[in-house]
Subunit: 340 residues, 2 copies
DNA sequence: ACTGGCACTCTGTCGTTACGAGTGCCAGAG
DNA sequence: CTCTGGCACTCGTAACGACAGAGTGCCAGT
């Protein structure tokens, strides 16, 4: 049994009404609020079919219908078109993002903007190191046996690590180290560096070899192994909108999930397709987020993607609006990064 | 009318029971659970006095008593001694903090540790720039008209900013700039730098003056004006412990406050006295945190203080335990920083 | 294929009642 | 003067039943 156009129209109406009112929607109020051109009884028949197919359900006998995850999914895929942003929103985005002075600033402004526009929890991933190149490596002597290694990536990210040296190294040798390291690594993709770092050690004269080996291990750790992804988060207070009705009673599991960077990265950091991705309820494989949806997308200068951003909210969410906003913000941020 | 010893003992018992059970405590259960050596009726009389003095109150007629903010205050100031940490806790702290590789790592581990031990929301301020000295300034050419300025502070903090130059500058001149800037500023307290930066511009030859002025303005901004304090936060999920009973119904205002860095800094960043500070309910002047208490202290290598840390929870909180934990963690972190 | 009508089911609300915890007060004992 | 036991009172809460309202499913009719 396939769903004819009117049944789909009914589903759309249910989703829209439910998102707006947060209350199960019945056949009568449906025909009142939408021009469906049929009677409540007909709508009821359609609803019975939709329920059988798993797109809607009744919380109790004799309450209205509520969309299921599958219902939202169908709505998102086939029934909604992306809303255009209002001029006010466009202006808000621009106003918010101009004037950012460095990467931290860009990320923080973006995440706050996103939370504010969507009125949901926003997450922004810093440009991924895995997709960056080395712009410059700096070695700063802290003491004779300690260096601070500073890595500046082309995306603007800066990572630093302390290096404990096996033996004292005079300043001139540090200069030499710095030159050698940069000659070899500057401009390279981080992912390509491991063999090059090994090469650095191999090419070393025996007397400076121990030092370089030590530096190399920290380099590898910084550039690759522990190439830690960073995140910014904002708008957690938005979880409390709509009472505790969303999220089935407690915010607890959601708040817990939001504290796990690993989880968040899984949600927004999966950057394969460059299109906007929507994960509804169970679709994001995380128990704690059964009643949450995530809208995410990649961003980056031009067509390349260097990181992900997105928002998290109740499954009962304004998908068209949220999708539009997430996309728009991602594009603006990409443009901003392209200017550097 | 002053409070005799037994009345104080009654207050202590009320606070302890209420913190544990989260329910208003009556005269009968009080004498059952504590060896007060008097009858419920006597306790009732004492409670009437305590209520008149504003230390406890009844949610409704014929419910037990609940401590007021003033009651908690008295309890903290005069009735409780700091609990000793269990060996297990000590071990947890050590295990958690060894192995931290850089400042970011230290701060993140600390904030998570604190949240876990106290089972509350933890806040850690990064070492304040205002109390740091410049260890090194690095200038990295991005293009001929762009430099990246990287400032490394003695506390391990690293700040970076982009500098747009008025005219192209060749690499050799950058080396020269770097030397001049470091000669003047390295080792100086950030707070003392403004006149020195001005001096740098004044001492400049006319042809490089424009460049230096430009650099100087960014320097000033980075070092002083926008010497932004950074924070780490963890354990927000702990707010949901004890149901929504704490925080009078909604977490909303609390979550909102936690998003405002300015507010958090006011709470934990006020470092005048080096002792642990407890702010109960109204005492922290923030409307949104009427029903929250904050326990905070400063930390730093040795006796100096470079930043603040603390926890936030319901006024109904285990003060002695929390205070002990916050102090212990602060001391461990200080020791850790002293090793650098 | 759609519609109007009707019986049914369930939830939420409202008043009533009964109960229990806890109090304040008072008179009496040490 | 302080403490205690007793007693009447208050008030929130749980339990109960009745009721109204929303919404449904089904069926016969157009």
């Amino acid at each position: 049994m396939s769903l004819d156009d009117r049944k789909l129209e009914v589903l759309r109406a249910i989703v829209e009404d439910y998102v707006e009112t947060q209350e199960p929607v019945g056949s009568k109020s449906l025909v009142e609020r939408h021009q469906l051109g049929v009677s409540p009884a007909t709508v009821r028949n359609d609803m019975a079919v939709l329920e059988e197919e798993g797109y809607i359900r009744q919380p109790h006998t004799s309450a209205g219908r509520v969309p299921t995850d599958a219902g939202y999914r169908l709505f998102v895929d086939r029934l909604s078109k992306v809303k255009a942003l209002s001029p006010a929103e466009r202006r808000a985005i621009e106003r918010f993002l101009i004037g950012a002075v460095d990467l931290d600033d860009v990320v923080h402004r973006t995440v706050r903007l996103l939370a504010q526009l969507t009125r949901q929890v926003a997450v922004v991933q810093y440009p991924s190191l895995a997709r960056s190149s080395v712009r410059h490596l700096e070695l700063v002597p802290i003491s004779t046996t300690r260096l601070m290694l500073v890595m500046i990536a082309d995306t603007g990210r800066v990572e630093q690590r302390l290096v404990e040296l096996p033996s004292p190294v005079p300043p001139d040798d540090v200069t030499d180290l710095r030159r050698r390291v940069n000659e070899k690594l500057a401009g390279q993709k981080l992912a390509d560096t491991p063999p090059l770092v090994q090469g650095l050690v191999d090419d070393c004269s025996p007397d400076s070899r121990a030092t370089m080996a030590c530096l190399a291990s920290v380099l590898l750790e910084t550039l690759v192994e522990r190439s830690e992804e960073r995140l910014a988060l904002a708008g957690t207070a938005n979880l409390t909108r709509g009472g505790v009705l969303d999220f089935q009673g407690t915010l607890r599991p959601v708040l817990e999930a939001l504290e796990e960077e690993v989880i968040l990265l899984k949600l927004i950091g999966d950057l394969e397709p460059s299109t906007t991705r929507v994960r509804i309820g169970d679709e994001n494989q995380i128990d704690n987020l059964r009643s949450a949806s995530v809208v995410s997308t990649g961003y980056g200068p031009g067509a390349t993607i260097v990181g992900g951003l997105g928002v998290l909210g109740p499954t009962r969410m304004d998908y068209p609006g949220t999708i539009a906003t997430v996309r728009a913000v991602a594009r603006y941020v990409g443009d901003l990064l392209a200017q550097n």
